[in-house]
């Protein structure tokens, strides 16, 4: 890496680089203050986004019953002209669906529940947790130790990828 490229550091953290590219970027970052600085920020951003995502796992308005009702309305509606369906129309469908959702929910709630914990994972992800190897290589070791102590204190992993964090434990 002749110049510092944040996207390469990012890809390194995400485990997306081929081994030879990872070695090259890692070697550069070892001796580059700017890249160490950028890595510290990227790590912080990951941590913040992870925590933010965890706090917002449940959105009561997002019930499948409401969606089912809306799908039923959509399937009965005449086929929309391509590109002609706009927000006004789907807002209208939304209102119709809200009304229908109550009926669907009534039926749905009477069915047996199953698969606790099935629904919380996001299945597609490309990022990996911050690797210890990288942290050592880039001189963020002391920072990582302190982060581990902090995580132990609050009892939570603070820097795992948000994508991974959303998977059911």
């Amino acid at each position: 890496m002749s110049t510092c490229r944040e996207s390469e550091l990012d890809a390194l953290l995400a485990g997306e680089l081929a081994p030879e590219d990872a070695s090259r970027v890692r070697a550069h970052a070892e001796g580059c203050a700017a890249c160490k600085h950028a890595l510290a920020w990227q790590r912080l951003e990951r941590g913040w986004m992870t925590q933010r995502a965890r706090r917002e796992l449940v959105r009561p308005a997002l019930s499948f019953s409401a969606l089912e009702a809306r799908l039923a309305v959509a399937q009965k509606a005449p086929a929309p002209v391509r590109h002609a369906r706009r927000e006004g129309q789907w807002r209208h469908w939304g209102k119709m669906a809200m009304a229908a959702a109550a009926a669907v929910a009534f039926v749905g709630l009477s069915l047996p529940r199953g698969g606790a914990g099935v629904g919380v994972g996001v299945g597609v992800g490309t990022e990996e947790p911050w690797s210890r190897e990288l942290i050592v290589a880039t001189g963020v070791e002391a920072c990582e130790d302190a982060a581990a102590a902090l995580e132990a204190r609050v009892g939570a992993c603070l820097i795992a990828s948000p994508v991974l964090a959303l998977r059911a434990d």
Binding site: R59, R86, G115, V118
Partner: protein, 197 residues
């Protein structure tokens, strides 16, 4: 979110779920919805900056996804496919609502890095106040740049996937995300590296 009925096993992979959903199996589509709707909603909320509008747009995203299940070619990329649909729903909504012009994102990213503090581990804790500031700082970004940044740092898409979702070249994706990062860091610099009041 209420989970009812008897959904497929949580060990079902995305491919299996997708195939079942394509045959009209509502339980499979429900699992896809339950898995991905939190991220889709968060993405739309971040773009629309309106929770009720994000509820509506999330429903619309899945209605469209349901009708286009057969069009998804890469069965391993359900998440990025849904986020791509969500982005289109957002753009339509923005056009329809005649949404405000985004806050001007001045092109002064150069050398910002030099004056930023280096974060310390203590900064990792996202308290309520900081979470609010983060949301505010994200909101300061130009919407398209914000979308690209979030697809990367929140939703974990590869740069190539972001290029596909945004309809941009790969160099543009990298450049926009880098600029977004610098802007975000500039907004939050006072709250990291011991600079917190």
């Amino acid at each position: 979110m209420v989970l009812v009925g008897t959904p497929p096993s949580d060990t079902d992979g995305e491919r299996g779920l997708l195939r079942r959903a394509r045959t009209g199996d509502p339980a499979a589509f429900r699992v896809i919805f339950e898995r991905h709707s939190p991220a889709v909603w968060r993405f739309l909320r971040d773009l629309l900056r309106d929770e009720a509008a994000a509820d509506e747009a999330t429903q619309e995203t899945f209605v469209r996804a349901h009708s286009r299940l057969g069009a998804l070619r890469d069965e391993d990329r359900v998440g990025s496919w849904l986020l791509g649909i969500a982005r289109h729903v957002y753009l339509e909504s923005r056009r329809t609502r005649g949404v405000h012009v985004d806050v001007a994102d001045e092109e002064h990213a150069h050398q910002v890095e030099a004056v930023l503090p280096t974060p310390s581990p203590e900064d990792l804790l996202l308290d309520q106040e900081l979470a609010g500031l983060l949301t505010e700082a994200l909101g300061m970004l130009h919407a398209e740049r914000r979308a690209a940044l979030l697809l990367r740092i929140d939703h974990g898409l590869a740069y190539e996937e972001i290029a596909s979702v945004m309809g941009w070249s790969l160099p543009k994706v990298k450049n926009e995300i880098h600029r977004a990062r610098l802007r975000l860091r500039e907004q939050l610099a006072a709250h990291v590296g011991g600079g917190r009041p």
